[in-house]
Structures are given as C-alpha cells and as structure tokens.
Amino acid sequence: MPRSLRYAVLIPLSVLAFYVLFVLPDIDLGWPGGLAMLGAAWLVWYLLWSTMRESAAAAKTDESMATVSPGEQRAWIGVIFTAAILAYYALRGSQMVAADGSMAPEASAIGRHVGWLVVAWLVVMQVLRKRWRDTVEADERDRQIEARASGWARGGLSVFVLALAVMFAFSPLDHLAWARPMAMSNLLMAGLIASCLLEYAVTGITCWHDRRGA
C-alpha cells in the first residue's frame, strides 16, 4: 500500500483509537472487550509509528531529501501528546468538577488517563533516545530554535495569566460563579499545557520550515 494512503487510513484511525480509549464515557465491555480495544488501539499506533520510521529511513538514504532531526522528532511528539492531553482536558475537564465546585468522583479516573498519556510519552521518548544513542541529538542550531520557542511559550503564558488577572479584577462577582477551586485548577493546568504545546509547535514548525526550503 502506498505510504500516503497508509497515512490517510492510519491517522484518522489513531485519532479514533484515542477517542475510544480516553474520551468515550466509561463503558464496561468486560475484560475481553477492554483488552481487544486496547490491543486494537496499540496496533493502529504501532502501524502509524512503523510507517513514520519507513519514511525517515527512506529520507536518510537520499542525500537530496532532508531527514527529520531528533530535535524535530521530539518537538512533533511533544505536539501530539500535549495536544492529546489538552483535548482530553477540554472534553472531560468539566466532569472533574462536582456540583459544589469540589473534586468529583470521576476526577481520579480522568487524572489516571492523563497519567497514562504522560507515561506513554515517556516510554516513546526513552525508545527514541536509545535509537539516537550514536547520533548528535541537538546542536547549537537546535538550541537556538528551542530558545526562540521558549520565548513564544513564555509570552503565551504571560498573556494567559494577564488575561486571568484582568478578568478577575474587572468582572462582577456574579459572572465569576464558575470559578470554583477545581475549575480554576483545571484552567491553570490547561494554560500550562497549552504553553508547552506552543513551545513544541514553534520548534516543530521552525525545523519543518528550514527543512522544506532546503
């Protein structure tokens, strides 16, 4: 199957797998159903991963093609995981808040799912680090790009905090009824994750832009 067709099939399937595993309301399929669902999701992600590896290997053997550097790979993987965590917060964050504004019983399950995503991210990065053992992971240009991206992330986070401060300072109290402890906790976490997403995205886009024009 051509690589572009494989991407066209596997990318929507991997998004669907993420949705089924993490976002759908908790439905009980029994252990065989749950195991089958988890196995299918991992298979789809593995096939997508191996297709990406094939593309990278093809580019490596061709001098006229620019390969994806470790720094760029790290950035795009960061984009995928931070976007997934942010999307998960956006879709299920409201379920973490109980009617009285405290922590809802579903909060621990939702928090556990976020924890799984972070663990999966760490595992992927560990595997990649082993593959990059004999290569230069980052040089002065990567560090320059990362410094620029950090500046963007710091700017984004500053705008977010300023917007919150202005909102709390100038909004009438009855407009701030939603701002209960758990809701505020989610909002602050989402802001922090969004700033990380911005940092990874700026890094990835800058590397891609350089590579595209090579």
Partner: protein
C-alpha cells in the same frame, strides 16, 4: 530561521573533498545533518566555534568557507 548575511562555499568544498556527504560533514563537526542543510541553504549563520570546526574539516581558513555578502 531567516536568511543570513553570510555566504558559504560548503557545498563546493564538500564536492572537492571526495564528494563528502552532508552526514559525514555533520559527524566530523558534531552537528546534525539538518544544520549542514540549513548552512548550505544560507538559512543559518554558524557560531564562530562551528565556523572554525567546519573550516578545519576542509583544511582551509574560515574566510575560505564563509564570506560576508556585499
């Protein structure tokens, strides 16, 4: 990265040195191949240290590799 005011002859020097690959030059200088690509495309101005390392790989002076655009 935007264009830089520094021109370079890295591509020419690579071919004069047994058609050295970008990866071989990158390995010799301790940088990634993507940085060699960005240098050759004129999208990145190297630090003084990297400029010296590249010149040393080719066995020439820094000004034989990098020139200020007039």
């Amino acid at each position: 990265m935007t264009g830089t005011p520094i021109d370079n002859l890295i591509r020419k020097l690579r071919f004069e040195h047994d058609e050295m690959t970008q990866q071989a030059l990158a390995d010799a200088c301790g940088i990634t191949r993507q940085t060699v690509i960005a240098l050759e495309a004129g999208k990145y101005a190297p630090s003084l240290e990297l400029a010296f390392r590249i010149a040393r790989v080719f066995g020439v002076g820094v000004e034989d590799v990098f020139q200020w655009k007039r």
